[in-house]
Symmetry: C4
Subunit: 203 residues, 4 copies
């Protein structure tokens, strides 16, 4: 079974999600600066969700790139991830419209948390159908960043009851954590691949 269409379909869905959010960006009520300033929180929220979906696309890209085999279970685990991601525009809009009220902010965090859980499940399902000793298994390793993200979400969601802005700060922190790490995974993949090539060259 080829992974090309899985990649194409996921690319399509994430590309649509990341762009249709802009349809929910209401125009300012007037044409002066104060009306524009009034929608800046909405734009900032859009940026945050854009970054989150961009991170998922990026990680998905790396994950599938290192994947050697897929099966029917992978297709469904992938659709499961896409379902939670598809709720990001909805959660973004509600949080933005209610100006970061408690419940909408908690829901936004929950959608992020459940997306992260779905991604973890996808990784496990993919790993289960790889050949032994796959590049992917060593590249993922203990998945520290993934685990830290889950913990931060689990803390940030109840914290909306105390102060919604702290929660949003924590969501942004998760985004920051992920904006760096690809390079490390990439390096490790390259190192492993290089090692194999060298090994192959010696024989």
């Amino acid at each position: 079974m080829s992974k090309t269409r899985l990649e194409a379909f996921s690319d399509g869905v994430i590309a649509i999600l990341i762009t249709i959010m802009v349809l929910d960006l209401r125009s300012p009520a007037g044409s002066d600066l104060s009306t524009f300033v009034a929608i800046l929180p909405g734009i900032a929220t859009y940026l945050l969700s854009f970054v989150f979906l961009g991170i998922y696309w990026n990680n998905h890209h790396h994950l599938l790139h290192a994947t050697e085999r897929i099966n029917g279970a992978v297709l469904w685990a992938n659709l499961h991830l896409l379902f939670w991601l598809s709720l990001v525009p909805f959660a973004t809009r509600w949080m933005s419209e209610t100006e970061f009220a408690t419940l909408p902010t908690a829901l936004y965090g929950s959608v992020l948390l459940l997306s992260a859980v779905a991604y973890t499940i996808l990784v496990r399902v993919i790993l289960a159908c790889q050949p032994p000793d796959s590049v992917l298994a060593s590249a993922i390793g203990t998945d520290r960043k993934g685990n830290i993200s889950l913990v931060i979400y689990a803390v940030a969601i109840p914290l909306t009851l105390v102060n919604e802005l702290i929660s949003i700060g924590l969501f942004a922190l998760v985004a920051l954590i992920w904006l760096v790490p690809d390079r490390r995974i990439e390096a490790r993949i390259n190192a492993i691949a290089g090692g194999r090539h060298r090994g192959a060259g010696l024989e």
Copy 2:
């Protein structure tokens, strides 16, 4: 004629359909729990339609994967399927807005039924242009699941006159039936392919 663009176009349309439904998810009227609870049926309906479109994408993926040849008739049979699928967001929205009234629920079921009929037609049109003894023909076999689905839809649509929730339960039942079967088809394709490979090895 290459099937690559047919797959790409179908992926694009289904990816868009599955995601634009989220634009129809209205934000809750307020920011408290009761307003969120009020939209839960809408989210559940979205989930149901997401699963249906996901099943079609999945089955379409398997179908085209096993297809060896296409022709102009296949392009049109495919567009015919995409037309009925494109009405899913419309039917979902109407059913959700009217809170599962009789006619909208029956229309929703009819769109599902006509999509299933269009899929069956697509399968026949594809089979008609395959070389004899194709992998696809034996993989599809008697298509029991497809036939059972058609029967359930045909029962569920008039049942909306009695109780709409029973009909929706039956639609969900069809989804459940399909959430499992890919694995079986996959196994059969693998078995056949394996058999051929073994056969080829012996000669």
Copy 3:
């Protein structure tokens, strides 16, 4: 220069256009049969535009399939076609909302006419950069269907002043003309390709 991305981008745009029209399909005002009947003209218009965009996708598919070379001018001629096609949802919505008033129906026809002109230009620009004796040139031939379509549009647009439904009937006639012809072009391509293969075999 590779045609893969040109195909992918065109597929993406046409797939989006063909599906976002469904967002413009308003839900019936109520949940009874009369409210549903009231939106049937809207659904019929959607079907007509769906068929038109489907025909363009289909013909575009065949055209690019037979194309051997592209250049920068082809990219722009293609974007020019996509621009007119992108106005189809807008023209469909206006015609549907005004219940087939004169000007909106004439505008709808004009968008179809200008799309057809843009397609003709695209064909010429592509032909101009093919190697001599290309499969494409003989496959397109005198392009009778294209010319007939242009004539019918040119007649149907002023006829909206007399009766809009006659114009719409003529638009539907153009669609019907195109729903058949691919098979002929296909056959001719196959014949030519077959002839070449036979020729190659003889040498």
Copy 4:
């Protein structure tokens, strides 16, 4: 790391952006000529933004075509470009709704400016990871057109305080500058590639 998915994802996002703008094209208030004339500025604005996004797609196509290697930094520089491009529909809508008021026109210009800056950054990031003596470096050269565009934007944005239409004329001028140049870059790439081939042939 393969550039295929980067191209596919960018194609998807730009295709969506270029088409969802049509959802923001309001239908005329009535069905007579005066109501249609009233929305012509909106359609002209849509055309301008369509051309801008088309230029970006076109240049992106040429850029990636000549790219030999990508890395994680390229993925992010690309997402950064897509973020600014994703604000084009929003800025277009606001400028159009306020009938070219000062601030919305300045914002539109700023989104264009920041997109151009993001494109310049993307080019630098890609160049940084190419092998020495790459085709891309010589094809881009001093990037005169890019620099001229940046200057025109920087002049046009404050000019909105004097007269918004002058600014819009300058934006249109940038579009015109870009509608020609691909051919030159193309020619230079062909010349270089041809030179290499000749060189290779001599050895």
